[in-house]
């Protein structure tokens, strides 16, 4: 047990990086997701095609391949960015594809009459989406967004494979130094469970506050 207390600093730093990665990526993914979902329901066929292509490409290639491509590949074509920044951007874009699908299902769940009423009032497509459809759509997908948040927590661990020292990598380093795997990996697992529980509780609270009963 004292192996954990001796390395509290490493675990704390790792946990902090995981939380930062998760929160920044989620924020980025929400922005990307809303934009792509809006593209996929727009009247412009080219935008719809671009949105579909984005989702298909991002979802069907493993996140680890994206991370490797960005971290090791981009410097080869002269794009230099910090490791952490690169990881945040890649995870944001990847989760953005899943976010887009969730938001789109929310948009489809908004009754057709809402969109028709907005148009009858003379709102343009962008206005009706921004002021009528999206606020209702986002409220109905709180639960799916919570699942994506948990998935994002899990996926930030992959950043360890390209050198970001987040929780998983920190646990691995401590283990390489101390060779007491059980305590170290169980602690890391418990921390991940705690993070997911936090995400779950936040989702539940938001859901109770925001959900529209239909």
């Amino acid at each position: 047990m004292d192996v954990i207390t001796r390395h509290l600093g490493e675990f704390g730093d790792g946990l902090l990086i995981t939380v930062e990665l998760t929160l920044l990526s989620l924020a980025g993914a929400l922005v990307a997701g809303v934009i792509v979902a809006a593209m996929r329901v727009s009247p412009v066929a080219a935008l719809r095609a671009a949105g579909t292509a984005y989702v298909e490409t991002l979802q069907n290639i493993p996140l680890l391949v994206w991370l490797v491509l960005a971290v090791f590949g981009l410097p080869e074509i002269g794009v230099m960015a910090g490791l952490f920044t690169t990881a945040v951007i890649v995870i944001s874009l990847y989760q953005g594809a899943y976010m887009a699908e969730a938001v789109r299902s929310g948009i489809n769940a908004v009754p057709v009459g809402q969109g028709e009423a907005a148009r009858a009032l003379g709102l343009t497509f962008t206005q009706s989406l921004r002021m009528v459809i999206l606020p209702q759509a986002l409220r109905t997908v709180v639960q799916p967004l919570g699942n994506i948040a948990i998935m994002t927590i899990m996926n930030t661990a992959l950043a360890a494979a390209v050198g970001v020292v987040e929780l998983t990598a920190a646990a691995n380093r401590v283990n390489l130094a101390e060779a007491q795997p059980i305590w170290i990996f169980v602690t890391a697992g418990l921390l991940y469970m705690a993070l997911s529980a936090c995400a779950g509780l936040t989702t539940g609270a938001l859901e109770r506050k925001l959900a529209i009963l239909r």
Binding site: P43, A45, I61, L69, I77, I150, P181, G189, M193, S196
Partner: protein, 292 residues
């Protein structure tokens, strides 16, 4: 009106003009992005023909296809193991006995919130210390099966719960044991209903096999790493590999969507059948009523 078109009406002349402008802008933006990327590639000498030519040759592809074969093998074994475990866990979670129900639920809830990479590290660095040193293949497949079993369990549970209670009750009524009624009546229907989810979870598992990169198991991504170390065509290699993953997983996802549509069609068809039957029965009742 298709689902994609609920948010706008049939465009008039002005809207059509606006759509044309937006289309041109979209295409221009796409071309600009492509141009920017190509310029970055060209400026750094990555567009040179001899940096791409190797990927038109057979030995290179044979090497990558070997990696792909290992990916497929690992994925198939992991899918089989985790589906089997998933069925057991799902049945366990729905079991009438608390001593079966609680451990199954605990397994699913715990494993669902632990990253696969952490499990891979456990298998790589913790288990050998306790004398369990598996071959590379199992070092990849075991953690993936452990983590995906929980996901499959939830899918199967949803499927079993979606089968009407009467099915199980009818099975019990004709004298089957609970186990046999589950196996012969409920599970086949449940599996058919959740087939699309099973396929998309399998696509996720195929993506997870890229963790072979960490395990040094020679699946597609790790093969790419070895190849790139050898020929120094780093970005080209990884782009080709990304393309291979894209083609395979997009195909599988397409299969999932097709199955989903067919399923939906079958359910609608069944609904129509019942409606017709009900109408027929009502007509019969009316006729009988009129006769009486």
């Amino acid at each position: 009106m298709s689902a994609a078109r609920v948010l706008f009406d049939e465009p008039g002349p002005r809207a059509r003009r606006r759509i044309r402008v937006a289309t041109v802008l979209t295409v221009l933006a796409g071309l600009a992005l492509l141009g920017l990327a190509l310029r970055q590639f060209a400026d750094n000498g990555q567009l040179a023909a001899d940096r791409w030519r190797p990927y038109g040759t057979w030995p290179m592809w044979r090497y990558l296809l070997d990696g792909l074969k290992s990916t497929a093998f690992a994925a198939v074994v992991a899918i089989a193991l985790s589906m089997a475990a998933g069925i057991v866990l799902a049945l366990g979670r729905l079991s009438p006995s608390r001593w079966v129900r609680l451990p199954s639920a605990a397994y699913v809830e715990v494993v669902r919130t632990i990253p696969a990479l952490l499990l891979v590290y456990v298998v790589l660095f913790a288990l050998p210390k306790y004398g369990l040193d598996m071959p590379l293949f199992w070092k990849l497949v075991v953690p993936l099966s452990v983590s995906n079993a929980a996901a499959f369990a939830e899918i199967f549970r949803a499927g079993i719960q979606s089968v009407e209670r009467g099915q199980l009750e009818a099975g019990l009524a004709v004298g089957l044991t609970r186990g046999r009624a589950m196996r012969m009546i409920v599970l086949p229907q449940a599996a058919r209903r959740v087939l699309p989810s099973l396929i998309s979870q399998s696509v996720g598992l195929v993506k997870d096999t890229s963790l072979g990169f960490v395990v040094s198991y020679a699946e597609l991504l790790y093969s790419g790493k070895v190849l790139a170390n050898y020929n120094h065509l780093l970005i080209q290699t990884y782009l080709v590999i990304a393309l291979v993953y894209l083609v395979i997983n997009a195909t599988l996802s397409k299969v999932a969507r097709t199955v989903e549509e067919r399923n939906a069609g079958r359910v609608r068809g069944a609904g129509r059948g019942r409606a017709q039957r009900l109408r027929g029965e009502r007509a019969l009742r009316e006729r009988v009523g009129a006769g009486a």
